[in-house]
Amino acid sequence: MSIRQIDERKLREVALTPDEYKAIVEQLKRAPNEVELGMLGVLWSEHCSYKSSKALLRRLPSTGAAVLQGPGENAGAVEIGEGWAVVFKIESHNHPSAIEPYQGAATGVGGIIRDVIAMGARPVALLDSLRFGPLPESSRHFEGVVAGIGGYGNCMGIPTVGGEVYFEDCYASNPLVNAMCVGLVRSDQLKRARAEGAGNRLLLVGADTGRDGIHGASFASLELDENSAERRPAVQVGNPFLEKCLLEACMDLTHTDAVVAIQDLGAAGLTSAVAECAGRVPGAGAVIDVARVPRRERGMTPYDVMLSESQERMLVVVQRGREREVESIFHAWDLTSAVIGEVTEDGQLTVVDGDEEVARLPVRLLTDGAPVRRLVAFAPEPPFGLDVDALPPVVDPGATLLRLLSSPNLCSRRGVIRRYDHMVGDATVVPPGGDAAMLRVKGTRIGLAVTTDCNSRYCHLDPHLGAQLAVAEAARNIVATGAKPLAVTDCLNFANPDRPEVYWEMEETIAGLAYACRALDVPIVSGNVSLYNDSNGESAIYPTPVVGMVGLIDDYGKRLGAGFRQDGDFVLLIGSSHNDLGGSEYLKVEHGYVAGRPPVLDLQREQAVNRLILAAAQAGLLHSAHDCAEGGMLVALAESCLLGGLGVRCPAVRPEPPLRLDAAFFGESPSRYIVSVPSRAMPEVQSLARRHHVEISLLGLAGGNVLEFEGQLKLSLAELREAWEVMVR
């Protein structure tokens, strides 16, 4: 059997290479038929098979004492105490969002919610990490995506409590839309999507199946090109109302013990759902009768049904003979359900249409058969260096601060945040707008801090260091609320890995992530990879490893906000500053370029600073904490003023050489916080700092309605707010 016997067009249509086709024929010892080819095409797509990233992902640390479920299931799960587990995962929906921003983003949210539901958990929070080209050119993407995320999440009654928005040229034709969902479940109720028990029934519930997004998975694994137009039907319209009913019905499943497993239908629809479910159980297989699948359209072929990516569908594995019991739960929510097949023990995925067999493939071939791609890595020319000494000194720090505060990447996100319901659930005890958000676990004192972070400019300048900095910043955002970093989910967005410099970026990024997660002791329990963010090979995105992190505080009564609270509090800078202007927002906004090396990161020092903050928070010594991120100390200070509605008066800053004034104000040295401390607590904070060997410096006193550094800058909160809220209509 040779490749010549199938024409290349058909292969391209299912996005398989001639070599992959050869591998299929060899292992099957026959040529696959149409349906089988389509099924293999989607499951062997990058999106489903991770054939280009698998090898690298193994390097990520994924274990820990509290980890109940690492990568490999629909989402990760970690124990948080009092019998509760937190379940979370992040996922990209970049390509669909590029083509249809609203629906692309909405269905992305819908998809990640189903992953969490499949673990038996109730979703309690959403986060969205977004990247676009500059405004106004990219406003269609920006507006559509924000509306779509709100449109789905708000209707579901799940609060969207965090995320990021960045504007950068490299995302103009490849916007990034990563959505994270966090859920809660009693540890002993945690579900796993394993098709156990031959004879058990496969129940398909939720939306009727239409010709949606056929080849969506393979579509997500292709560069956008002029033909994307023809693949457009791959974009779908979500139905959050139906998913809400699906959610509640799945929660009601805890009333029965007849359910063996729940698996969501996402990319590659039924094919991947069934294959994955069976693939997790050695020797397991399944038979599916496409004739029993409820349809939305007439004239659908078995091929259409098996590859359809219609949203809002779930596959439930039910103990044989107890179908009625389970179906009645879904019917109570007016959801259609149908028994479409059963679990077998022959290791084959068999598809029949009535009594005609239309496909029969080894589950293993579908799930693990895709030949792992060995790609070449090649380090590109290092980006422009930066001679800090050649930079002109900062003339008017106040004017610079206003320009930074009103720059697209630093200005207030209130205009976005208020378009998302971030309060539903009565659990949001730290709202979005500061650092991490915090949710309480009702019925306990436990607080969960959540954040997503990545400064892709750093990653562009040095992927290894940039990835570490992303993990560190996420951890800092968690710690700033008084919570301890618990675990991570990551969304790795890259350009075309077939290009050696891109694959090199992947290698470096993953090495950096692994290193930082080990150093900070946070396992990565779930994640997602999005490649080919690279239209026509031009305009490649920066390597963008988005880090989603969850942190834990045993008593949310001890949580911290980022805003100043008390007149007369001492305002301190915790941690030490260096001439870290490389890749800074200051450099971009004031000098117009992205260059240099990212800030130096010492993870030991990072840990020491974090321990200090957590100790002080636990002891109730702090009134607020905010980490220094983009824009440096002065921007962080201004944010603490604006978030608290309280000014701060400081003597002039006189940096010790070699530290420059611009770096002291706007440098982006990591491992630093702005905290406010009641005067009585100062001695204790100082001795804590000494014990942790952390440098602290008194900046000034909170109070009044101006931000002032004597003789250097003096701005009223009103002026600052006007600059900061440029994007709030």
Partner: protein
């Protein structure tokens, strides 16, 4: 005092309202399924927020035909307390239990943010525990909360004092700048002529505990409970 919280497909404030009634207020709670046909002897029916039936076509348009709504209508006619919050307000308008309608926010955007409400009356069971012209800080969360009624209806409502809450600034001034959605007369909440049916867009069940940013919402729940039940937390 027994509260009944109605659950339509797509409702989500049911659990928050239930939490406040049961865990914060410490009153008796019963959930009422949209297919139910009796109110299980509750003294106050809450129609909570959410997107009943996805708010497809029009907010509340399909929900108003749910079997439970017949009972709710009769209960209201008998003078029973009916409290529509956000989506519940929209349902009450669609059902004709309250005048007017709620249309798309003037900004065309969904808005989730804190608002200030001027309490116009305290002689009603819903606001009995509030002070005269008190300003309450309660968050909104809606895309279609802009109140509309034709001029005649509106002036009749004003004469009869059917406007219970108006969006205002923190000092209680009813100004355009304090209006988050373009509601006529800054209307945030209204009652029927008899005063036993309340519809309001803001979410009191989201601010009944300090850790959630405020406790003004609890005042309304206490009012309804008539101080009869003692408050567990606050």
């Amino acid at each position: 005092m027994k509260f009944g919280v109605v659950v339509f497909p797509g409702t989500w404030s049911d659990r928050d309202c239930g939490w406040v009634v049961d865990q914060v207020l410490g009153a008796e709670l019963v959930y009422l399924w949209h297919k139910d046909t009796d109110l299980k002897g509750c003294d106050c029916v809450i129609l909570p927020g959410g997107f009943a039936y996805g708010d497809y076509l029009r907010t509340g348009a399909i929900a108003r035909f749910a079997p439970i709504m017949e009972q709710v209508g009769e209960f209201a006619d008998r003078g029973g307390l009916v409290w529509g919050i956000c989506n519940g307000f929209q349902v009450l308008c669609e059902a004709g239990l309250l005048p007017g309608a709620l249309v798309r926010n003037a900004s065309l955007e969904f808005r989730c943010e804190w608002t200030n409400l001027l309490v116009e009356r305290t002689d009603l069971p819903f606001t009995a525990a509030c002070d005269e012209r008190e300003v309450l800080r309660i968050p909104i969360s809606h895309g279609e909360g802009s109140y509309f009624a034709d001029p005649a209806t509106l002036s009749r409502m004003e004469q009869r004092g059917q406007v219970l809450f108006r969006y205002c600034d923190k000092d209680g001034r009813v100004v355009p700048g304090a209006n988050p959605n373009g509601s006529l007369h800054n209307i945030a909440g209204i009652v029927n002529t008899r005063g036993n049916v309340l519809g309001m867009m803001p979410h009191p069940e989201r601010c009944a505990e300090a850790e959630l940013g405020g406790t003004d919402g609890l005042k309304l729940f206490r009012s309804v409970a008539g101080g009869a039940v003692k408050v567990l937390v606050s």
